[in-house]
């Protein structure tokens, strides 16, 4: 267990380093500095600004300075939003994204597993067909298509739901549906097929032969085995939710980290791009390690070596 953890953490650190390095050099490959678009600034002023942020130094030196600072938790100042550090911006915007994303993940896990189970138990019946259709459609509809449809129907035409911001609970409905739809559909499919697989296993026959009731067979013996593939999907789902939030936050005008990231790329705000990418990558990678450990707890067969 300890050995496995060490190995996982080393791999995670290497991955984070790879992400940071890649991002750093990619960013610097993009032509045009952060100050080019501001026409009013004179070449002298630009040079002064570049000197202030260390952009005049050789790339390699900038790189080591950056990595060194990042290790101390210092991601620098935003190049565009003067006077604010990257950490400030992330600290302010991330909770907004996390709230929407967290609710979506929970909704997807609960509704997805529940409907997937119900479909598997009622195999071949109406409920199963409904779930199949919904899940097939769900994984074929890109989030931006769903967002715009929702926006048009409930926001523009029916005017039932607010379309911008997050000020009331009703504001959450559309973004959460838009963000949770794909993972819900995916989990439904996953849960259905894994439940069907489990229901056909010999140990389920043993459980029935013991005289257990249908409920006890299902909740005690089937569920814990069937949920395993869903647990492995939690990592990719988090990554999906984070990237999905780029679109959702753009369409529903949510002041979250996704919108900030897209804005930073378009404005070539190097430090903010770096900071956001590394922050999100660390988040996803750490969550993946946690998911692996949870998996080990649920499934005693997996020997974490």
């Amino acid at each position: 267990m300890v050995k496995y953890l060490v190995k996982r953490i080393v791999l995670a650190i290497v991955t984070i380093w790879a992400v940071a390095t890649l991002t750093f050099f990619l960013m610097n490959a993009v032509p045009g500095g952060p100050f080019l678009s501001e026409k009013a600034i004179s070449p002298q002023a630009t040079a002064a600004l570049e000197a202030k942020y260390g952009l005049d130094k050789p790339l390699i030196q900038q790189y080591f300075t950056y990595i060194g600072d990042a290790l101390h938790g210092d991601f620098g100042d935003s190049l565009k939003q003067r006077g604010r550090t990257v950490a400030d911006i992330i600290g302010m915007k991330f909770p907004v994204s996390a709230k929407v994303g967290g609710i979506s993940v929970l909704v997807a896990l609960i509704i997805g597993s529940l409907l997937g189970c119900i479909a598997a138990i009622n195999r071949g019946k109406v409920m199963d067909s409904i779930v199949s259709v919904v899940s097939t459609l769900g994984i074929a509809v890109p989030s931006f298509v769903l967002c715009t449809f929702l926006l048009f129907i409930f926001g523009v035409k029916l005017k039932w739901l607010p379309t911008m911001g997050l000020s009331t609970p009703a504001h959450y409905i559309m973004p959460v549906i838009a963000l949770a739809f794909y993972p819900t559909a995916y989990i439904m499919r996953l849960m259905r097929s894994s439940m069907l697989d489990v229901l056909g296993q010999d140990y389920m026959r043993t459980a029935k032969a013991k005289g257990l009731s249908g409920k006890a067979q299902l909740f005690k013996h089937a569920l814990r085995n069937a949920i395993l593939p869903v647990v492995t999907y939690v990592g990719p789902m988090l990554a999906y939710t984070i990237t999905g939030s780029f679109v959702v936050e753009k369409i529903f005008v949510i002041p979250g980290l996704g919108g900030e990231f897209i804005g930073a790329i378009q404005g070539r705000d190097y430090t903010l791009i770096m900071g956001t990418t590394i922050f999100l990558a660390v988040l996803i990678i750490v969550m993946n390690v946690i998911v692996d450990i949870v998996y080990k707890i649920i499934d005693p067969r997996i020997n974490l070596k």
Binding site: L11, T15, L22, A140, V141, P142, V145, T148, T243, I265
Partner: protein, 348 residues
């Protein structure tokens, strides 16, 4: 000894107790016809109505994307004068005048966009771009992934361990984050490259398209590589390959006969399912304004452009959106059908 009461109904003759011939015995056994893997799989596929319909839809969409534009009277990049924001099947003042003069004018089936371009042709060309991205990107992924995976599997040992560690790292990198960055970073170098002689073809294809291909090629092959490697490893260990080796079958023949035929089903399925996911990602990037460049349309950028006019011209949004869903849905369903038909492990 007791007699069975039922037998009272049967009148028996001495001939009844004469021995039966082998031919007579054989006629009692209905043997199920044995068919080859491909024929069997194809037959199953044809029985799967959903998959057949999906295949037909894909063919129809391809005809619309690749063939119809050749004969279509409008061009995707031409802005027709005073024809901005026309509703479907309406005409601009000039066109109306020509119709009144007895000329035949081809209708704007889907209307025009805010710059006066015929929307039907734009959707067709957009579909073409999306399909191209999906298919070419998948082809690149297929080649890199299967080469990498099979090299790792065949060499084994240290080579395998190092190669798979690299895969692990790329796999845990949050892909869309990097895709966004990469597609942004690659634009400029490609534009520079296109300006140098010998590389002018890049402009024909479009630097953005190429950067998308590179991005996909760099990041998305890992899944394919893992799959191919594990397939080959399982097959290498499998008893029938050991049996073939024990019988003295040559290496080349084992690869051709056993490994390939057993891998190819899974490979076809994974490829078919990779196409919609590539289209999905491309449309996502285009929607965020990081895909193909104007005036070239893709389904994602069409939808993205239409979003501001959602109140007045919702059809401009819905048409490309529905086409995207239709393309992804058909490929997904066809992929599922192929898996059911060709994956030998699922054979009942």
């Amino acid at each position: 000894m007791t007699k069975n009461p039922l037998s009272a109904h049967i009148r028996l003759n001495p001939e009844d107790f004469a021995p039966a011939s082998d031919a007579q015995k054989a006629s009692q056994v209905v043997m199920r016809e044995s068919v080859s893997f491909w024929k069997d799989g194809f037959r199953r596929l044809m029985r799967n109505k959903v998959a057949v319909v999906s295949a037909i839809v894909i063919i129809l969409i391809m005809i619309f994307a690749f063939i119809v534009p050749l004969f279509y009277p409008y061009k995707y990049e031409v802005q027709y004068k005073n024809a901005n924001n026309l509703k479907p099947f309406t005409y601009s003042a000039e066109e109306q005048a020509r119709i009144d003069a007895g000329e035949k004018v081809f209708p704007h089936v889907f209307g025009t966009d805010k710059m006066g371009r015929d929307y039907a042709i734009r959707v067709m060309v957009g579909t073409r771009i999306s399909l191209l991205v999906g298919i070419v990107a998948t082809a690149i992924i297929l080649v890199i992934g299967s080469l990498y995976g099979s090299i790792a599997a065949f060499f084994g040992g240290w080579v395998d361990i190092i190669m798979m560690r690299i895969v692990d790292i790329i796999y845990t990198i949050p892909d869309i984050l990097l895709i966004v960055l990469l597609s942004f970073a690659l634009k400029a170098p490609l534009n520079n490259l296109a300006a140098t002689p010998g590389f002018t073809w890049i402009n024909k294809v479009g630097p953005n398209l190429i950067s998308i291909f590179i991005v996909f090629a760099l990041l998305y092959w890992v899944g394919m590589a893992r799959m191919v490697r594990s397939q080959i490893l399982t097959l290498k260990e499998s008893e029938y390959v050991t049996a073939a080796r024990a019988l003295g079958v040559g290496r080349g023949k084992i690869i051709k006969k056993h490994l390939l035929t057993n891998c190819i089903g899974t490979l076809i399925v994974t490829t078919t399912l990779q196409i919609p996911s590539s289209i999905f990602t491309e449309s996502f990037l285009s929607f965020l304004g990081m895909g193909v460049a104007v005036p070239l349309p893709s389904l994602g950028s069409l939808a993205s452009d239409a979003i501001n006019g959602i109140g007045t011209n919702p059809h401009l949004l819905f048409i490309p959106a529905i086409v995207i869903c239709l393309v992804i849905l058909s490929f997904n369903l066809l992929g599922d059908g192929l898996r059911d038909a060709f994956d030998p492990k699922l054979k009942d």
